[in-house]
């Protein structure tokens, strides 16, 4: 690369721009592929993760597109039963383990955690890089299972189907997920150790931004739940590859035990997806309402409570599995409890908005969309936590709609909110705001059009995981598939305009949103060392107005400025 490029603060900056004498950014610290693939800089690893999860997102999205295309009509006209099974399995496996679980923690989390606590890097930078390679290795293994003929078990790999009967490439796919599990454990160890050991002077536990708390609680789940999944999947491989009798009921095994072990991980995994999302939303809503977060300590305790209580509720996935009715009762009760901290969060975000000077920039639009979609997803979760309703709608599209509201509606909206919010910090560039607003609104409408009809179809009794259905459900499926088309456009748009902004966008100021966090107190994009001096924290987080001051009436809100000058 030429010397002129290396001197500019961002590697991709226009050479004709004025030299500002800013320190060299992390983007300019090396331009070769090798400098990225061997970097232990948490910011570069975050970019590596962002690229890989984007690839997986569109791979899983392609499978979903095929599924929705098939469901447009009641008859089988695009794919057959077998291919359909493989498509929804591919969609589920890729989206859960290679997009949703790593999405926010490894991209935004990796990039922002050291910046937010005033550290130079993660506690174990090499482990951080290793976790990306493990993730890629796992992804390649799982993707190669698709080339080896695909997997037809569904993302849950339920036994004895997955171990005794399925003739598809289950072992390969499962091994891929197993490997990626160690990637998330590595990330979890890193986040916990970093938060404990590398906080800047003055950054006490109750001054941490809620996003850091969210990452910390997510990492608790990473570390404590993932190993159980790893063993469970290894047992599936052992039963398939070595014919060991483990879960096979014909040989005395207990297939319900598989479900216990699987959901001990996979229920908290939902909280892996939603807790970081809650963290992002807390940052965005406070910034664009210009208010301190309402009830900071309660928000912290709610995050911790969700992470811990989330481990007590897995059995609500198993009410119809043959589990004992006594256990079903216990799990149902415990599942209702976890709604309490979730509701606290929704109420506190709403109270934060109250009498704030609310701006409707694109990150805020995504964030407000999150609150609505999360509320719908959470409330329908309560339906499913009560045994009689769950028995009625088990394995129907009601369940599909419910978890998509949480995992896609809420989590992905939050991911996009965070992506837009911190994009200027990550790339040093502003994106075209009008396009972004349009994409945010389109995503909200597309999402609801896709998944709300599924609640109705499911409640009326349409089962999931079939490629054909009785004609009376067609109206709901046509609505849903049309919504999916809208949603696809809304997901593709950011890919276009964000890429455009990296090349042609306006230079971002250090703090384009007038936000309060420590991550904004450095250049955009930050230098390799993150801060110019040694940061020290003197105030509470979300310092948007004096403590205890009532909201200021009738003051025009200073609009955020994108321009450097």
């Amino acid at each position: 690369m030429s010397a002129g490029l290396a001197e500019s603060p961002t590697a991709l900056a226009d050479r004709g721009e004025l030299a500002l004498g800013l320190p060299e950014s992390y983007l300019a610290a090396g331009h070769t592929l090798g400098s990225w693939l061997t970097s232990t800089d948490h910011k570069r690893i975050a970019i590596l993760y962002a690229i890989s999860i984007t690839v997986f997102f569109f791979l899983g999205g392609a499978a979903a597109t095929m599924v929705r295309l098939e469901l447009f009509t009641p008859k089988a006209d695009v794919v057959g039963a077998d291919t359909y099974n493989k498509l929804f399995t591919l969609h589920g496996v890729i989206m859960v383990w290679f997009f949703l679980i790593p999405s926010i923690p490894t991209t935004l989390g990796n990039f922002l955690l050291p910046l937010m606590i005033g550290a130079r890097d993660m506690a174990f930078p090499k482990l951080n890089l290793a976790s990306w390679y493990l993730n890629i290795l796992g992804g390649l293994l799982t993707a190669s299972a698709m080339l080896a003929g695909g997997i037809d078990t569904g993302w849950t790999f339920y036994v004895p189907y997955a171990t005794v009967f399925s003739n598809s490439a289950v072992s390969l796919g499962v091994l891929g997920v197993f490997v990626s599990g160690f990637s998330t454990i590595a990330t979890g160890v890193n986040v916990i150790a970093t938060t404990h050991t590398l906080r800047a002077p003055g950054m006490t536990w109750f001054r941490l931004p809620l996003f850091v708390w969210a990452l910390y609680t997510t990492s608790l789940i990473f570390v404590l739940a993932t190993p159980v999944l790893a063993v469970t999947l290894l047992l599936v491989v052992a039963e398939r590859a070595f014919d060991l009798p483990i879960f096979d009921p014909a040989r005395g095994g207990d297939p319900i035990l598989f479900q216990h072990l699987f959901w001990f991980y996979s229920h908290p995994a939902v909280y892996i997806m939603i807790l970081p999302a809650m963290g992002v939303i807390s940052e965005v809503i406070t910034c664009f309402a210009r208010r301190r977060v309402f009830g900071y300590t309660f928000m912290v305790y709610a995050l911790l409570a969700i992470a811990v209580i989330g481990f007590f509720t897995w059995g609500h996935h198993m009410f119809t599995s043959g589990m004992s009715p006594f256990a079903a009762l216990v799990f149902s009760f415990l599942s209702f409890i976890v709604a309490v901290p979730s509701a606290i969060k929704v109420f506190n975000w709403t109270a934060t908005l109250y009498r704030g000077q609310i701006g409707f920039e694109s990150p805020m639009l995504y964030a407000l969309g999150f609150v609505g979609l999360f509320t719908v997803g959470g409330l329908t979760g309560l339906f499913l936590a009560s045994v009689p309703i769950d028995v009625h709608v088990q394995d129907t599209y009601f369940v599909v709609a419910h978890f998509h509201y949480i995992m896609v509606g809420a989590s992905v909206s939050a991911y996009f909110a965070g992506l837009h919010f911190w994009w200027p910090k990550v790339t040093g560039r502003m994106y075209p705001e009008t396009w972004a607003k349009f994409a945010a609104i389109l995503m909200f409408f597309g999402f609801n059009l896709t998944f709300f009809p599924q609640f109705i179809a499911g409640y009326l009794g349409m089962p999931r995981r079939y490629h054909v259905y009785p004609p009376e459900f067609q109206i709901w499926n046509v609505l849903s598939s049309s919504g999916a088309a809208v949603l696809a456009v809304a997901y593709l748009m950011p890919l276009g305009y964000l890429t455009w902004s990296v090349l042609f966008g306006e230079r971002a100021r250090n703090d384009p949103w007038n936000a309060s966090g420590l991550e904004w107190r450095t250049t955009s994009p930050p230098p390799r060392e993150n801060f110019l001096g040694k940061p020290e924290v003197l105030a509470e987080p979300y310092n948007y107005h004096p403590e205890g001051a009532p909201p200021v009436k009738d003051q025009p809100r200073i609009p955020a400025q994108g321009s450097l000058t």
Binding site: H196, L224, F312, S324, V330
Partner: protein, 103 residues
């Protein structure tokens, strides 16, 4: 976590003496486990054997893996592992035992 001044390291002989003492205790417990397995304890055999194993594990964790000198953070981490394991066992066995009781 002790980032402050560390106490002077104990002498080599003391380290050896202590370690050998713990080792002798562990081997003794191992012998006891073997004896208990053959002893006519009825339904208590497994409980006694697991109790002996838990004692051995505690000795290794506290004295060999140095939880005795570790700070509160490390002790809390170890306790978290056990607590979450307890969640897994308790709720899973709630189902299995109540299923067996009604079988």
């Amino acid at each position: 976590m002790s980032a402050g001044p560390t106490p002077p390291a104990p002498s080599g002989a003391r380290i050896w003496r202590r370690a050998l003492l713990v080792w002798a205790g562990l081997i003794l417990l191992l012998g006891l486990s073997c004896l208990a397995a053959w002893a006519p304890l009825g339904g208590w055999t497994s409980a006694v054997n697991l109790g002996l194993a838990a004692t051995q594990a505690a000795l290794v964790a506290v004295l060999f893996m140095r939880l005795d000198e570790a700070g509160p953070l490390v002790r809390l981490t170890a306790a978290c592992g056990l607590f979450w394991l307890a969640i897994l066992f308790t709720l899973c066995l709630t189902d299995v035992l109540s299923r067996l009781a009604n079988a």
